[in-house]
């Protein structure tokens, strides 16, 4: 007997069943659904010819991916910051911080994401970001700065919407990140705190130099997982008129009436982005583990 797994008769039966099922589905789709696949039409939304000079330029789908990545990136950065604060708040020695953080986490966890995002979007957009005067940014900065900002945040005349939606998403994800941070800090042995105590460090110092570095190492896998979750959750901001992948998919599906093809393409794009990211994370994790022990 070799140590390696071999196919037994049971595996053959199982695989046979799966193949049969797939064949049946294909047969039903082909023979009974009478659906005429047309991939060409939605696929042209990847790139289009520029009317002026005839070169290829990104079309709606590519623009959507870029905006999805933008929203996810800023959402992750803000979400981590919020999550870190709220997570530490949860285990603070100050009762007020504990109460605030607890309230925030429980609110997010027990409210459906769509109403939460709407409420936050309108509240943040109107009450917090409006007074900041983000509308004027476009005119206030030089064209060069404007270009950089545009690369980072998208079209500047939509900046307030973008910021409000991203912040709403970050607030949603932050609650889950807070729980991860809390678990990470609590997983560090009490002896580490006490060792810090006996070496004459204040609690803040211990947290910064002893506890968090170790906690971060432990929570890297769940944090990576959460960031992939965040990319998928970012499809929710299509409801807030942010023109990311899902939003574009909807547009294309409606305008071409190729629902199947369009959504399969959009789904595949999410898969490529998320799976690619998870492979990168797995690599990083292996590297970290190798250097650590």
């Amino acid at each position: 007997m070799t140590a390696r797994m071999r196919f037994g008769w049971l595996d053959v039966v199982v695989i046979g069943c799966v193949v049969a099922l797939l064949a049946y589905v294909a047969y039903r789709v082909h023979g009974h659904l009478v659906y005429h696949w047309n991939w060409a039409e939605p696929l042209q939304f990847f790139f289009r010819r520029d009317e002026a000079d005839g070169g290829w330029v990104p079309n709606l789908l590519i623009e959507g991916v870029i905006i999805t990545l933008r929203v996810s990136l800023w959402g992750a950065v803000l979400g981590m910051a919020i999550g870190l604060l709220a997570g530490l708040g949860r285990i603070s020695q100050v009762a007020l911080f504990r109460m605030i953080s607890r309230g925030y986490v429980e609110l997010v966890r027990n409210v459906a994401p769509v109403p939460f995002l709407f409420i936050m979007f309108f509240f943040v957009g109107n009450q917090i970001l409006k007074p900041l005067g983000l509308e004027g940014v476009q005119d206030a900065v030089s064209p060069a700065t404007g270009g950089v900002l545009e690369l980072m945040f998208g079209e500047l005349n939509l900046l307030r919407n973008f910021a409000a939606a991203t912040l709403a998403l970050a607030l949603y994800e932050g609650a889950y990140i807070a729980e991860i941070v809390r678990a990470g800090v609590l997983s560090i042995e009490r002896g580490q705190w006490e060792a810090g105590d006996s070496l004459g460090l204040s609690r803040l110092h211990q947290l910064r130099h002893v506890i968090l570095p170790q906690a971060v190492q432990r929570i890297t896998p769940p944090l990576a997982n959460q960031s992939i979750q965040l990319i998928k959750d970012s499809s929710l901001v299509s409801l807030l008129s942010i023109q990311e992948m899902t939003f574009m998919g909807q547009e294309i599906a409606h305008s071409t009436s190729r629902f199947f093809e369009t959504w399969i393409i959009v789904a595949a794009m999410y898969f490529v982005v998320c799976f690619g990211l998870s492979r990168i994370y797995a690599r990083l994790e292996r590297r970290i583990n190798k250097s650590r022990r």
Partner: protein
């Protein structure tokens, strides 16, 4: 009281209404090493944690270097007490290398000075070539020495050590112990060490305080405790004992199967137990003196031998320890005598 050192005064402590430390007073002078010795659950670790400030003080006072650092409701946090602590599991910081671990508690000064100080400590513990490695790559003994260096680096006036050797195997203990004692001696800190191992306490301590049920029941030099234990519990702590039952006869005479003793303190007619350490049972020439006994078993343990004896006409068996050369053969008849120096008489409490 002395300047410097640490003094615990009238410490009482209870967890959820269950008293674990009762009215404990203990003082450690600068440069002195005191062991708190007792079985697990006797409150010794709690005492240490109270001294360190890791456990809130309920009743009593803690004085470090002549200044009160804790009384109920008014405590300096651990970081303000000028103490160093070595933990049972060492609690090294796994994300920092050895040098960074040791540098950690050193305050102020520039980075180079901190580094130099830490390297000096490491060198004295023969760890300088480990400075750049991470704790998980070290052996137990090395980790233990790093923990000591880290605790000593901020130059604490008081060192507290919680079972510092329990994680090490026996051979390693001896080596680390020597390093530790010499470094502690150099630094001149007052050291309070908790242990459940009497052998370790005997080897390391200037003074031993034996704890049971939350109280210190005897305090003294290792020799005091070994030669003049206050009760059976303490006597038993340091070696196994032969226990013989007898009554005090007129004139303070006590007759036991292994020989007779005298007592002045215990009243005539009191039932007593006579406790003889294995080395207190002396073997004479065959029937030469003392009570005859037959050798049931004789086993050499290297430097010395253990002999099991059955006393003629008695139920009891005795165990005694003899130099290896004097090991009798099984079946021999020998004469027994008790060394009164290492035999203790206490009134019988039970039955």
């Amino acid at each position: 009281m002395t300047e410097g050192g640490i003094r615990l005064e009238g410490i009482c402590h209870a967890y959820e209404g269950v008293s674990v430390v009762t009215d404990l007073t203990l003082e450690v002078a600068p440069g002195e090493l005191v062991c708190l010795l007792g079985p697990s659950g006797c409150g010794k670790t709690t005492t240490l944690r109270i001294a360190a400030g890791l456990e809130p003080l309920q009743i009593g006072r803690v004085i470090v270097g002549g200044a009160e650092v804790a009384r109920p409701g008014r405590e300096l946090p651990p970081e303000g007490r000028g103490i160093g602590m070595v933990f049972q599991d060492f609690a090294l910081f796994p994300h920092l290398n050895v040098l960074e671990n040791v540098c950690f508690g050193i305050e102020g000064r520039d980075k180079a000075a901190r580094r130099a100080l830490a390297l000096d400590l490491l060198r004295r513990l023969r760890l300088e070539d480990r400075a750049e490695t991470y704790p998980h790559t070290l052996s137990g003994g090395e980790q233990q020495r790093v923990a000591l260096a880290r605790a000593l680096a901020p130059k604490p006036a008081v060192m507290l050590m919680d079972e510092p050797f329990s994680g090490l195997d026996v051979r390693l203990r001896d080596a680390v112990r020597e390093d530790m004692l010499s470094l502690l001696g150099d630094e001149g800190a007052a050291t309070l060490m908790v242990t459940h191992d009497p052998d370790e306490a005997m080897r390391m301590a200037d003074r031993i305080a034996v704890m049971r049920g939350g109280r210190i029941i005897q305090e003294g030099t290792p020799d005091d405790l070994y030669r003049r234990p206050a009760d059976r519990f303490i006597a038993e702590f340091f070696s196994e004992l032969n226990v013989l039952h007898a009554d005090v006869e007129p004139g303070g005479q006590i007759f036991t199967p292994a020989g007779c003793l005298e007592t002045q303190e215990i009243a005539c007619g009191t039932p007593v137990e006579v406790l003889a350490r294995p080395e207190a049972v002396r073997l004479g020439e065959n029937g030469a003196n003392g009570h005859p006994a037959r050798v049931v078993q004789a086993r050499s343990l290297g430097p010395y031998g253990i002999v099991e004896l059955a006393v003629e006409g008695q139920q009891c068996q005795l165990r005694c320890r003899v130099p290896r050369r004097a090991l009798p053969a099984v079946g021999d008849t020998v004469g027994l005598a008790l060394d009164p120096e290492q035999t203790f008489v206490f009134p019988r409490e039970d039955d």
